[in-house]
Symmetry: C2
DNA sequence: GACTGTGAAGCCATTCACAGCT
DNA sequence: AGCTGTGAATGGCTTCACAGTC
C-alpha cells in the first residue's frame, strides 16, 4: 500500500463514495461491489477499484466490499474520523448561508466563528454564533485549534483576510473570492469560483447550438 | 483553428483569464503577454498560449496580446456577450445567498426567478424577487427563455427539481445538492459539492502531519 | 530581443484485461 | 461463477523547445 502520489480526482471521488456508502449502510446493505458503487455515483467499476487500491485492499475477491467497513475506511482516509473546527471570514450573504449549511455539520465540520470587519455586520446573530470583528480572529483560532478557514469576502479583501488566517495558524483555506491567493506552501487552498462554474455551462450551451 | 475537443480545465482557466483581463483593462493596460497573464492567475505562460490557441490566433508575435481585444474574445468564447437569465430552485440559506450574489450579475447573469415548494418560504422577498411555488416554474422559464437553473434544494429533492427544470426547457444545471443527477444528454450539469471541497482539505491536512 | 503559436515529448489519469481468490 | 487487485495499454493534458514574426 503506497500513498505516494494520489490524483486529486481520486480524493474527490472518495468523498462521493463515502457519502454513497453512508446511504447504503443506512439502507442495511451489508456487501457492495465496485459495480454497484460505480452505478450509484456515475463512474466506471474499474475506476472505483483503482481509487480504493491507492489506500489498501479493502475488498474480498469474488465477493465485494463490506459496506460499513469500507465507509469507515473512506472516512478515515479523508480525515473525517473526528470533528474539524472551521471559521468563516466574511459575514455577507454567502458566508451567512454557509454557517447554516447542514451538509457541513453532517460530515463533521463545526463552524466555531464568523468574522467580518463591517461594523454593520458585527454582532449579528447566525444560529448560535455572533459575528465578530477580525481582531478576535487569532484568539478564536488558537482557543479552538482551528485549522480550516472559509473565505467569503469580496475579492479585494481576500488576500488580507487570508493573511490574517494564516498568521493565526490556519493551514487550509476554502476560498470563494474570485481571486488567486498567494500563500506559504504549507497552506492548502482550494477555490470555489461560482461565476466560473456558471461560465462552464454557458460555454457548452454556446457550443451546442452550432 | 479547430474547436473539436477542448479540455474542461482550459474553459475553467479561460474564465479566470477573462476576469484578469477585465482588471488589466480597467487599469489602462493596453498590451499584455502570456507571461503576465500567467503570473497574474498562477499558471505557466505556455499553458496560457496553448489555451488561447484552441480558439484562434489572438496575439502578435514579439509583442503580446491587446488586453481589450483578448478580453472581448474570451467573453465571446465563454458565451458572455449578452445576458443569461437564470432561475434558482431552493430558497433556503444557500439559494437566497446566490440570488444576492454580486459576482453573477457582474458577469452577465440575471436571476429572474426563485422557487421553492416550502409554503413558509413562498412569498418571501429576496432583492426584487419574490419566492414562488414550483408550479410557476414552467411559465417563468418559458416567458424569460431561461436556459440555466441553479439547484439548491436538499439532496432528496434534487432529482425531482431537476426534472421540473428540464421539462420546462432548461439545458444547463448548476447543482449544489450532494447527489448525482441523471439527465438527458442534451442537458449539461456541473456539481458544486461544498462538503467534498472541504474534505479535499482535510485529506491533505492529514497527509501532512506524517 | 521579445513574444506568440505549435509539433513533439513527457507526464498523469483512466481504461483494459486478466491473474488471483472465494 | 463472481468480483477484486493490478500491470499494461491507452488517451489526454501539460510542458518543452523552437520556428516564425515583429
Amino acid at each position: 500500500m503506497k500513498a505516494l502520489k494520489i490524483p486529486e480526482a481520486t480524493i474527490v471521488r472518495l468523498s462521493v463514495y463515502s457519502r454513497f456508502l453512508e446511504q447504503a449502510d443506512k439502507k442495511g446493505i451489508i456487501t457492495i461491489s465496485s459495480g454497484e458503487i460505480a452505478a450509484g455515483v456515475g463512474v466506471s467499476p474499474a475506476q472505483v477499484r483503482k481509487d480504493l487500491a491507492y489506500f489498501g485492499e479493502f475488498g474480498t475477491r469474488g465477493v465485494g466490499y463490506n459496506a460499513k467497513d469500507l465507509l469507515k475506511h473512506t472516512l478515515k482516509i479523508l480525515g473525517l474520523n473526528g470533528k474539524w473546527t472551521v471559521v468563516v471570514v466574511g459575514a455577507g450573504n454567502l458566508g451567512s448561508a454557509l454557517v447554516s449549511y447542514r451538509g457541513f455539520r453532517e460530515r463533521g465540520f463545526d463552524i466555531t466563528g464568523v468574522f467580518d470587519n463591517d461594523l454593520t455586520k458585527i454582532g449579528k446573530r447566525l444560529l448560535d454564533l455572533e459575528v465578530m470583528g477580525t481582531e478576535r480572529l487569532e484568539q478564536v483560532i488558537n482557543d479552538n485549534d482551528v485549522k480550516i478557514g472559509i473565505l467569503t469576502v469580496p475579492a479585494s479583501a481576500a488576500q488580507d483576510a487570508a493573511n490574517l488566517l494564516i498568521n493565526a495558524g490556519v493551514k487550509a483555506i476554502l476560498n470563494f473570492a474570485p481571486t488567486v491567493l498567494s500563500v506559504p506552501e504549507d497552506v492548502e487552498v482550494r477555490d470555489i469560483d461560482l461565476s466560473t462554474r456558471l461560465e462552464i455551462l454557458t460555454f457548452h450551451l454556446c457550443m451546442r447550438e452550432k
